[in-house]
Amino acid sequence: MDTLNAQIGASPAKTHKRAGWRTFLLWVLPVAFLLYFFYQPLAAIFKLVFSPGFKAGWQLFTPAAVARIFFFTFYQAALSTLLTLLVGLPAAYVFAKFDFPGRKGLNLLSLIPFILPTVVVASAFNTLMGPRGWINLGMMALFKLSDPPLKLLNSLPAVLLAHVFYNSSIVIRMVGSALGRLNPRLTEAARSLGASNRQAIKEITFPLLKPTVIGAALLVFLFDFTSFGVIMMLGGPRYATIEVEIYTQTMQRLNLPVAGLLTLIQLVFTLLLTFLYNRIKHPKYGKAAVSSEAQNLKKPRGFREKALIWVVAVVIVLLIAMPLLSLVSRSVFTLDAARGERGAVSTGFSLRYYQELFINRTGSLFYIPPIEAIRNSVSYSLATVLISTVIGVITSYALANPSMLSRHLEPFIMLPLGASAITLGLGYLIVFNRPPWNNPSFSLLIPIAHSLVALPLVIRVLLPAIRGIPSNLRQAASVLGANRVQVFLQVDLPILLRALLASVVFAFTISLGEFGAASFLASPLKPTIPVAIFRFISQPGALNYGQALAMSTILMLTCAAGTVLIGRIRLPGEELY
């Protein structure tokens, strides 16, 4: 009897056993990495803001200016979020409810933007609405104008459009999948109890989806609030958000204290948003709200349902397919003479801009051929894959181990994951502005910053996979005589292989397209692809423009290929949000 009691008493303690030395060892590397590469730069920014030099900075920058920038950032984010919901919610409804020809293709198209790097999106909109874009070219040819009539670039509408382009895919994916899982009997019950279609949506569908919709809206707002590349390239100098102003203050005014202050404001606000996002209550309705059967799509009937589908389809094609097609087509279309070129220029289809990627023309800025930027980016991305995979695997194993230590360290690990690339860029400039870190031929800081950006996704892919390994497999292997290393190699690794592959592809594409941190850290002689695109597209000259477009197209296709690859690797466990 006594032994039985002792056993019962002992069992709850087992779930939160004290960390063994192995768990402790697991934590050493991730914690050291984060301390050195995240908390140290963050502390440096803090120190800078409260340093004596800060006073000098204030003279150049008033509190009113800070407030103005903050409110503009908030305003454009709120407006973008609203417009995104306006496009995303009806689209999510249409994709989750109706069966119509072209549904799959349209749904796939609507999910593409999320994976595209900001510079690609910005170039795509540039080729559509910019002074050298299709719309202006067309209008100039049609009405025999000498100047582009449409001045959408460097305006708020351009930023809003790009944000909607970007984030409607988040809304469509999150809300659409929640809607698809919703038990269709609930609305049917409401209909048979006398509710019209509209009443059923208002009374049943919407209340049940509310947590998901709020969550999606908060996430979109967070992305819009911290958006950098889109605003840099489409908003122009008049529409500076906090992130853009941090860049300007750092790189152009060299006013680091003000940049630091803006970074702190930004950090506090994003943490607040992340906190809110995690606080959203997802009521546990259990089986009642979830349908177990396969998704029940219905054919649209009646004018209103058909009209809704048409509107969604047209908006998605106009908003998403048009800019992307415009980018690709403009990149293979030579129009005017490059600088220094003589004689008649053949206009029309040509692969010239792609050939020029390999050629070093004096007309090119910084005298490097774009192929160099591609080479730089690939080597930075490979380094990112290495770092993020090593840190990610170790951190995931540490987190998967249910111990007291893990519980206390989890927030410490998760906090940096909400920080923006600009914060990292600024912090690194302050702390690591010395050898060996500022080596101009290969800045290790870029892959390190990219690894910190990629870590959340890497961990989110790996952790469920690690948790999903049945522990009895490991026990069976060790009973059969395998030691710890052999157990890892023979049991864990084969099971984790798919998740590892997915996380590698994620890390690679994220690093390839990352713009914010790279714009701070890439040396002028070693630009990454996005940095080079940013420089080339804002230069005069058709060749620069064309080269930027060719690089954007290549980047877009690479990221799309990566996503298709990840889609092929069927991941076990949770969704990627």
Binding site: A190, S192, L193, G194
Partner: protein, 344 residues
């Protein structure tokens, strides 16, 4: 009242409903019986307006309502998984249909209280539906469907999700509430005991058609074919070859009937006789319809012994006043007037 005429619906290319005709008259409790996957639920959903029929019409009091929206039909539907709104309380669930009718608030409240009283759940008004047991959910779903006073009530396997003991106790309450409401109702089930216990009239759906409809006694006494007799579990069924005027050949001999049969020579048919009509050791071998049999076992069933027998590899069941030891040889006799000849 309700008339379905020529309802057709395909499922994955196959005809699930292939011209179904069905009527429900005033105050009648019709039980729609069929195997799972026979299209019973689909027929209900078409009646409710949740699915479209590919052909045929739905009439209510001689008015064509085929193209009406579900909310314009005033038909109540109770789902198999109840589909209670998880974000609403018990009272709010029951109030939903009343609110949709646009009743004033005090009237809604009053009717909800009444409805909860009839199902003995008045004290549950403010509970979350997710906290309820299966039986309680079932009663709330019934109260919710009945509250807005629908013209017709449809119940899709209302006891299907519950365990056996609960079903037995709930079926009588369900019968009381449904008959008390005086409303016409369609009750869908695949369980024949449930169907016999609750129905005024039965309709059996098979292979896209209503195979037979009528009072439970009629289906019990005069099933139209062998499939129906087997589906309803009416007794011993033996495959036979007809030999008019009044005999048929089976694998182990020949049966003689009291009346002449209405079948052509050598057509496949089935012989149905109830276990209580199978007599053990009543006649010597050689008498009419008397065969050699071996006792497999005898099971005590309370009022009778169920004796399982084997006649030349064919299993038969008899109800007897006394047990017979396993392994003994007996004779079995089926009186000619107790045999029904059914088309295959």
């Amino acid at each position: 009242m309700l008339s379905l005429r020529g309802i057709k619906k395909r499922y994955e290319g196959q005809w699930l409903l292939n011209g179904v005709d069905l009527d429900v008259s005033e105050g009648e409790l019709l039980c729609l019986l069929g195997e799972s996957g026979s299209g019973k639920s689909t027929l209900l959903r078409i009646t409710a307006g949740l699915e479209e029929t590919e052909a045929g019409r739905v009439f209510w009091n001689c008015q064509d309502i085929t193209d009406l929206q579900p909310n314009e039909r005033c038909f109540g539907l109770m789902f198999q998984d109840y589909a209670l709104f998880p974000h609403r309380t018990v009272a709010q669930n029951v109030a939903f249909g009343l609110r949709m009718k646009g009743l004033p608030r005090h009237e809604v409240e009053q009717k909800v209280t009444e409805a909860l009283k009839t199902i003995h759940m008045a004290s549950f008004a403010d509970r979350q539906v997710t906290e309820l047991s299966g039986g309680e959910q079932q009663r709330v779903a019934l109260a919710r469907a009945l509250a807005p006073d629908p013209h017709l009530l449809m119940l899709d396997e209302p006891l299907g999700a519950l365990d056996h003991t609960l079903r037995v106790s709930l079926i009588h309450e369900l019968r009381r509430i449904l008959h008390g409401s005086g409303k016409p109702a369609i009750y869908v089930t695949h369980d024949r005991e449930e169907a016999f216990a609750i129905a005024d009239r039965l309709a059996v759906l098979h292979e896209g058609h209503i195979m037979q409809t009528g009072a439970p006694e009629l289906l019990f006494k005069k099933p139209v074919n062998a499939w129906l007799a087997s589906f309803l579990g009416l007794g011993n069924l033996i495959k036979a070859m007809s030999a008019p005027p009044n005999t048929a050949a089976v694998t182990f001999g020949c049966f003689t009937f009291a009346e002449s049969i209405n079948l052509p020579e050598k057509s496949a048919c089935a012989l149905l006789f109830r276990p209580k009509d199978l007599l053990i050791n009543a006649q010597p071998l050689g008498a009419v319809n008397t065969f050699d049999a071996k006792v497999i076992d005898s099971v005590f069933m309370g009022d009778y012994w169920q004796v399982n027998l084997r006649v030349q590899g064919l299993d038969l069941e008899a109800h007897s006043g006394q047990p017979h030891p396993a392994g003994t040889s007996v004779t079995v006799t089926i009186p000619p007037e107790k045999i029904q000849v059914l088309p295959q």
